[in-house]
């Protein structure tokens, strides 16, 4: 049963990673907390669901959800953050929170307050070994997350644009003075982060078989805690922190049977890290 709980925890953790990575990448370059990222995640789920109902193919709907989220992420960067970047850091934060609230209300008005069903047949099948069982949706989450993380890693380490992006994260002005097209890099940054959030939205929609207007409200703050836990701006740190939070939530509930609100785990972990390692698990001091 410990293996089963491990599978439960890593599945949840993988989705946390997909959501949190966009947040940490945006912080890494622009030093702003992109709260509306959770709205992009919800949008991805709705776009995915809508296209699933239109074309009845899960993989196409996953693609549509990712693209929809990426477009939205780009628009947010271009028309919300870029015009106010010269202001103090609190301005984009407030704008971001406002946008997130507005998005939640928009989802409610457009799609209705009710939970919608994302009953997609993925076509992967369960993976059962004895009493251990990786359910179809868990196979899906692990597979998609692994592929996305692999692409992200290859992109950041093997491509010129990835190199430019890492340079921007180190120092925006120096990178700019070496001829890096900073505004293109920032846009790319939002697009990649939003692609992952859109994928997370679709995956959770299928995993829970539910899409609803406020599905982003818990990820909105949990992802912040995860990003801080991993070390603000650190990509490997965020992935590690996500898996740790997913696993500890699952083990608190399932193995230790502590009647504990699971959403508190990320924050307790964050507080502990801030006390003993304020720059996060893999952040730089």
């Amino acid at each position: 049963m410990i293996w089963q709980q491990l599978a439960n925890g890593i599945s949840v953790g993988s989705v946390y990673a997909l959501i949190s990575l966009g947040l940490t990448m945006v912080y890494g370059i622009l030093r702003i907390l992109h709260v509306a990222h959770a709205g992009i995640y919800t949008l991805g789920a709705y776009v995915g669901l809508l296209s699933f109902r239109l074309v009845d193919n899960f993989w196409l709907s996953l693609f549509a959800g990712m693209v929809g989220a990426a477009v939205a992420g780009y628009l947010v960067e271009r028309f919300l953050y870029t015009p106010i970047l010269h202001l103090s850091r609190i301005a984009p934060l407030i704008a971001s929170i406002g946008l997130f609230t507005a998005m939640e209300e928009a989802f409610r008005i457009v799609a209705g307050p009710h939970t919608l069903v994302y009953n997609a047949r993925v076509g992967l099948g369960d993976l059962a070994i004895g009493s251990f069982r990786l359910t179809e949706t868990q196979v899906l989450i692990l597979l998609v997350s692994f592929l996305i993380l692999l692409f992200l890693w290859l992109f950041l380490t093997r491509s010129r644009m990835g190199l430019a992006m890492r340079a921007c994260a180190l120092d925006l002005e120096t990178a700019s003075s070496f001829g890096v097209n900073v505004s293109a890099i920032i846009a790319m940054n939002f697009i990649i982060g939003s692609l992952m959030a859109g994928a997370a939205g679709v995956l959770i929609g299928v995993y829970d078989n539910q899409v609803w207007p406020t599905m982003g409200s818990i990820p909105a703050y949990k992802a912040l805690a995860i990003v801080v836990l991993g070390g603000l701006g650190s990509i490997p740190g965020t992935v590690l922190a996500s898996i740790i939070v997913g696993l500890s939530e699952t083990f608190f509930i399932g193995v230790l049977s502590i009647p504990f609100p699971r959403d508190a785990v990320a924050f307790i972990a964050m507080i502990l890290v801030l006390m003993f390692r304020p720059y996060g698990l893999l952040g730089k001091a």
Partner: protein, 394 residues
């Protein structure tokens, strides 16, 4: 042009006067009944269901000649599942609308807040399905709210009935319990556990999950799977219920899932899909009850709204009809209505035959339903008086 403008001004003034002077005159020949439900907001699905069902009952009463020749005027308010909204509605119903009785089609939150207000004002209220004990009971003075009546079951009663069914009918000996962290979840699972232990069953695990917000029940269910119980008693509303049964099926759990009235919604069947098949629930509506009051309601609801009625709608409809029948007997004086409600005996209700009200709590059989071919069907009826008589408070 000018003349025409003057004419419309005069007409408007006449209409205006007629509206305000005319209204009180009209009020005298109608019987006003107040109603509130969470028609928008997070519980909108249940609120709409309650409103639809009560409006159906309202039309039936008026088509049948009203109450003692007077038409019934149903005054509907949306509490948006907010207690503060419900308080405003309570005073509006009494001061402006001058109703003679109130029906709650809402959850415990709004209902328990307005109950002491109506109690103090001597205004009778019948609650459709709100489960909190403090609806009919004042915990500060330790006295019964004797103007307030409840048509739904207390959590303890419904939980005990589910345990009675599990042990005596399903012959289950080993049980696991999973329930939401709210009053209803705690009281119904306590009622279940108490009765199950009394009947000699063993409780393997008892897990409480966060409410609202929990979507991933796999960690809980994985623990339950390890114990391999005969029955899993699960408490939750339709979203949680659907997630629990779906994820249990995904994880290959073979134990019988036994739920409660929170499962009793078309939304549960929709979200859970195939996984709902075979799930058994304890609830407050028997679709296979041959009495005309049940079959006519189910048929009329379906033809009026295009989808099937649920427990929430049926319970609210019943609450409205119970109040109407008391007014028919006693007239429009609130004290006389309350007396008629207290004297309710063998009432032929949509959600079962009500033998009486005890401290405002309904005494009637609990329905056990099973999902067959995507529909709730009769499985058993629990009428053991030891179970269905609510515990008296002192």
């Amino acid at each position: 042009m000018r003349k025409q403008g003057l004419l419309s001004l005069v007409l408007a003034a006449v209409a205006f006067t007629m509206f305000f002077v005319g209204a009180p005159v009209a009020a005298q020949d109608t019987v006003k009944i107040g109603f509130f439900a969470p028609i928008t907001g997070p519980a909108a699905a249940d609120g709409m269901s309650a409103k639809n069902a009560v409006e159906l009952g309202w039309k039936e009463v008026n088509d049948g000649g009203g109450i003692q020749g007077k038409k019934v005027d149903l005054i509907v308010y949306d509490d948006r599942l907010k207690a503060e909204e419900a308080v405003a509605i309570a005073s509006r119903l009494m001061e402006r609308d001058k109703v003679v009785g109130v029906v709650s089609g809402s959850y415990s939150g709004p209902t328990r807040v307005v109950a002491p207000i109506f109690q103090k004002a001597g205004m009778p209220m019948v609650a459709g399905y709100a489960v909190h004990p403090d609806v009919t009971w004042n915990p500060n003075t330790k006295t019964s709210n004797d103007f307030i009546f409840r048509n739904g079951f207390l959590g303890e009663v419904e939980g005990a009935a589910a345990a009675e069914f599990a042990v005596k009918d399903l012959k289950a000996k080993r049980m696991s319990i999973i329930f939401m962290d709210n009053d209803f979840g705690r009281s119904i699972s306590a009622g279940f556990a108490e009765r199950a232990i009394k009947l000699g069953a063993e409780i393997l695990s008892k897990q409480m999950y966060k409410f609202p917000g929990e979507k991933d029940f796999r960690p809980y269910l994985t623990t339950i799977k390890e114990g391999n119980p005969d029955v899993i008693f699960a408490a939750g509303y339709y979203n949680e219920a659907a997630s629990i049964v779906r994820q249990a099926k995904e994880l290959g759990i073979k134990s019988q899932i036994l739920g409660e009235e929170g499962f009793d919604s078309p939304k549960f069947l929709e979200i859970a899909g195939d996984a709902a098949e075979g799930v058994i629930i304890a609830t407050n509506l028997d679709r296979d009850d041959p009495r005309p009051v049940v079959q006519n309601f189910l048929k009329n609801y379906r033809s009026a709204y295009g989808h099937d009625a649920d427990m929430v709608g049926a319970s609210s409809y019943d609450a409205f009809m119970i109040l109407v029948s008391a007014i028919k007997k006693a007239g429009t004086d609130p004290k006389a209505i309350r007396k008629a409600l207290l004297e309710t005996k063998d009432y032929d209700g949509l959600t079962g035959k009500i033998s009486r009200f005890a401290q405002g709590e309904v005494v009637k059989p609990v329905q056990i339903q099973i999902v067959k071919d995507g529909q709730f069907r009769r499985r058993a009826i629990i009428d053991n008086p030891e179970i269905i008589t609510p515990p008296m408070k002192k």
